[in-house]
Each structure stands twice: as structure tokens, then as C-alpha cells.
Point group: C2
Chain length 115, copies 2
Amino acid sequence: MSLHPTISSSRVDGTNVYNLAGEKLGAIDDLIIDKRNGHVRYAALAFGGFLGLGSDRFPLPWSMLTYDVEKDGYVVNLDMEQLKSAPRYAEDAAPAWTEDYGRGVYAHYGAAWGV
Amino acid sequence: MSLHPTISSSRVDGTNVYNLAGEKLGAIDDLIIDKRNGHVRYAALAFGGFLGLGSDRFPLPWSMLTYDVEKDGYVVNLDMEQLKSAPRYAEDAAPAWTEDYGRGVYAHYGAAWGV
């Protein structure tokens, strides 16, 4: 099998993120990994002040990110309504990633927990 | 629950790696992530020319890394005999991470595949 559907963490950080309309939302700023089993719990989306959302980080379930070769970036199905009430944190104030917090993030986006 | 057993990918990259004897082997240079499910397939250990192992990268199953707070680094159970025959690649020549290749890496270290 010649498929190799993997990606380097250093290539994920800084990768642009677009919405379904093709508008640039921001970029992935970090990945948060479960120490015990090596699963990516979330990717941190930084808006960079765009859309009036400041420099907060928005934790996104990994499964929301779809890589688009032409855009050389991730496309996510995110609308402003979802974002207004979405979990977020200041760049220098990452939350304790408890199970409760994690489940809240996944639930907000309707993503399956525990994968 | 106040536990938060997570770590940022940006904190993993560059973290020192020690053997059981406390000798510094090198540092984690990169994480390779399965695009489909967000699992860390391996951490790339760079020896930095130490031990005559050149600048090759050694892919290690995530489960081999145990974080040591005092050392502020990972401790791995690695001996020279294992390393001499271990999968490795040049920094600029990462292999296609096929399932066969991945299974070979995990088998070399006796790690369970598929977690």
C-alpha cells in the first residue's frame, strides 16, 4: 500500500483555515495531545483578530479539519453563530483540558467524543 | 476532575530524550499524525550526531515516551542493540508512512499497533 495519510505536527501548525465559503478564518496555532494514548484532542484555531474575534484560541475537534490541497489549508464547517458561543481561551490562558471541558467542546460542534 | 493529561505539540518538539540510565540521547524533532483519526503515529527522535548515529531520525511509537518531570524530558527504554537495527531515515527523506512501514516500526520495539 503506497498511501501515507499522515502529516507532521510542524506542518499543521500555521496552516490556514477556511470556512465553506472559502473565506480565511485564521490558522492552526497548536495541537493538544492526550499524553496517555497519543490522540490529538483538539487543534487550536487562532483568528488573529479577524471577524472581531480577537486573538483568542478556539479548540476544534481534529475530525472537523478537512485538508484542501488547492487551498493548502483546512476547510471547516463553521458558521458565525457556532463561533459566537464556542469555547475559547486567551492565548496565554489555556484551560485545564479536563474530560468535562473536552466533552463540552466536542458537544458544541456535534463531534463524537472518545475517538 | 482536575486532571489534564494533555500536552501541546509545540511543547513536545524539542523536548530532550533520555535512556533509562539517564543519558541524554537526543530530542524529539517532530510528531507524525494520522490524518484520518488524529492519532500520533510516531515521534521522531533526533540524536544530533550523538553516539555516532548521525542526524538520522528514529521513529518511535508514542507509547514509548514517558515524561519525567525532574528531567523535563522523556525517558525511553532504548538500548544500543535495538537502535543499531532500528528503522531510521534522513532528516530530509521521511518515508512514506505506509501501514507496512508503521507495523515494522511498532514490531521493532514490541509496541502494540493500532492504538
